[in-house]
Each structure stands twice: as structure tokens, then as C-alpha cells.
Symmetry: C2
Subunit: 175 residues, 2 copies
DNA sequence: CTTGAAACGCGCTATCT
DNA sequence: AGATAGCGCGTTTCAAG
């Protein structure tokens, strides 16, 4: 929508000298980069000219930085943020799954096909896995729990239903 | 060119009788709306022409739907998704805060100023609040916990550190 | 809803400092 | 590294079917 795809250019890109395997570590960012990322993380529909005024840069300069940050993978994607309530998903829950064997993990990964499931993590502590799920009602949540209980090798689940969400956002740069 | 490859778009809207107040409820969405939302939720940089091909619609028609969905608040924003690891935040943790009084909630809301904190919810269960935080290292996490412990009126915190994140995405339309 | 056309804004490139 | 100028795509609106 806002990313005009143009024919590939023969632009000279500096080949980063990365000795050894590709390091998945922190990128090198200056203050302007961080401010730009913070701005894009809250609203990616702004024009480069507009961003330029906020950053005291020209539009092409902002464009160049954004291009570099995308290429480096700091900006993973640009997505639309949807309102869960208007999508008929008012019920948010965090489900801790206590397992006895790691084989259960593989079974739980199949849950990513369900649009109800937003997050799947393995975690430390007494429970081995943590799910963030958003359903239409408690019955749909119960169906989801029943599906988890059908898997062998876990000791139980504990669900925490969100009453009010005061803050919910993605990763943002420090400072 | 007018082949009938167009899928039927049935208006299967949830009438959703709300007897009381609560003005914010599910929007009326047909199948095309849901597909469009799913597409935009995964990549909002596509052109309207491109979306039109995927949805068997013309570009102006897609534009009209997107405009309506934004106006109705189904699409809350369009944001850049950042890579936490490259932002120097490799440590993801969920912190359960056990409180004795609801007054603690107000104190915790001040934490939203910190860029480390991504989510703040009040939840059911033995713990009253749940935080999703992302820090650079364990020491930074400890500082954050120390800040919470400085607040009066809670019995303790339990932290679950994410080992691997297998899935992490925002709300998407059902089906 | 469609196609077609037209005007405008802006992404993007090129060139220079 | 950043600024300025300009091309051209894509968005956006309008008309007619």
C-alpha cells in the first residue's frame, strides 16, 4: 500500500563483512534509527516527508534508513493491527500447559493453525509451555482446552483470563 | 474475462443481541472482508491491485473496503513489526504479580512508560496482574522486578522466561 | 460491483555536495 | 553520511455501465 515496488535497481550495496556464521544479534543503530523505528512501530502510514520533519531529515534520507533497516531485518514486516473485539474475539486468555515430556511440544505446535492462538512459547518454571489465545467466548476456549487435554503427556493446564488490557504493543527500541 | 471465479460472499454476520449497553461490539464482516483483513494483518505493504487479484476484486473495490474497515475501527493501525533480538531485547518474560489490593494496579500502570514493558493485563486466578516484558538481559529484568517490589501491597511475583517463541502474531479474523 | 481515465501525491532514483 | 530535482508508479477520485 505504501511501499511502491519498483523494478530492481543496480544499486551498489555494501557487502557486510560477517566473519563466520550469520550473527543473529543486535544491529548497529544510532539515535535517529531508534526514533525512526519507534515512529514506524506506532504508525507506519506516515509519509517519508512527514517522518523527515519529525527527524529533521529529508525524505530520501529517511527512505534510505528505512530501506536499510528492512534489509537488515530490524523491520520484519508492516502489518495492519486489528481490533480483537470487533473481530468477535473479546476473550483473551493465557494458558499454562504443564507437561512431563518434551514430545508434547511438537503436538502443541499444531495449534498454530488455529486463528484463536496468537502466541506459543516454551518457558521456564513449573509449566513448560505458555499460550496466548483469543476466543469468542468461554465455550470456544473450553473446546481449545479440550483439544490440549486430548494430547498425552501433560499434567494439566492453568488458564488466566484477562479482565482488562491496559497495554499491548510490539517490541520497541530502547530509550 | 467475466468468468464466475468469484467466490460467494455471504454476509454471515453475528447479529449479536446486546441487551444492555456496551456499544463496542463485533462489526459486520463478510467473507471478503475477513480475507482482506487476514491479508493486511500479515502484510500491509501490498498494493490494492495485488490484493484485488487475491480477492477477485478491482483495486477501487478493495480500497473502498479497506477505507470502511479503518473507519469502523476494525483496522486500528498499520505498524512496523520489529525484530526484538536485533533491538537488543533477546529476553522475553511473563511476570505474574500477586497483589492484595487493587490499588496496586494503578501503580503498575506507570510501567507502561518503560519500553521494556509490552503488555499489562489484569487477570483472573491467583495472580492479579500479568506483564509481558522484553529486556536486554537478566539484570535488566531484575531491575524491573525490583521496581515492582518497591510497590506496597503485593505478595510476590513469579516470572516465566521464554526459551523459544514458536508463534507470535496479532488478532486475526476467524476462519 | 465493474472498467477506464484522469489528477495528484509520493515512493524511489539519480546526481551533487 | 545528507540535500535537491525529477521520473513514474500507485493511490484516489470520478464517470458510465
Amino acid at each position: 500500500m505504501t511501499d511502491n515496488a519498483r523494478p530492481p535497481s543496480s544499486r551498489t550495496s555494501k557487502a557486510l563483512k560477517t566473519p563466520g556464521a550469520q550473527p543473529v544479534v543486535a544491529a548497529v543503530l544510532d539515535d535517529t534509527d531508534r526514533k525512526l523505528l519507534a515512529l514506524l512501530a506506532e504508525d507506519a502510514t506516515r509519509t517519508y516527508a512527514e517522518l523527515g520533519k519529525l527527524l529533521f531529515l529529508s525524505a530520501p534520507a529517511v527512505h534510505e534508513r528505512a530501506r536499510r533497516l528492512k534489509k537488515e531485518g530490524v523491520i520484519k514486516a508492516t502489518v495492519a493491527t486489528l481490533d480483537a473485539a470487533r473481530l468477535n474475539r473479546p476473550l483473551l486468555a493465557f494458558v499454562h500447559v504443564d507437561t512431563t515430556s518434551w514430545a508434547v511440544t511438537r503436538q502443541l505446535l499444531a495449534l498454530k493453525e488455529l486463528s484463536d492462538v496468537e502466541e506459543i512459547h516454551t518457558v521456564t518454571g513449573e509449566s513448560a509451555m505458555l499460550l496466548k489465545v483469543r476466543t469468542r467466548d468461554t465455550q470456544t476456549l473450553e473446546q481449545l482446552l479440550a483439544r490440549i487435554h486430548a494430547i498425552e503427556g501433560f499434567t494439566g493446564t492453568r488458564s488466566y483470563i484477562a479482565l482488562t488490557t491496559y497495554l499491548e504493543r510490539g517490541p520497541s527500541p530502547e530509550l
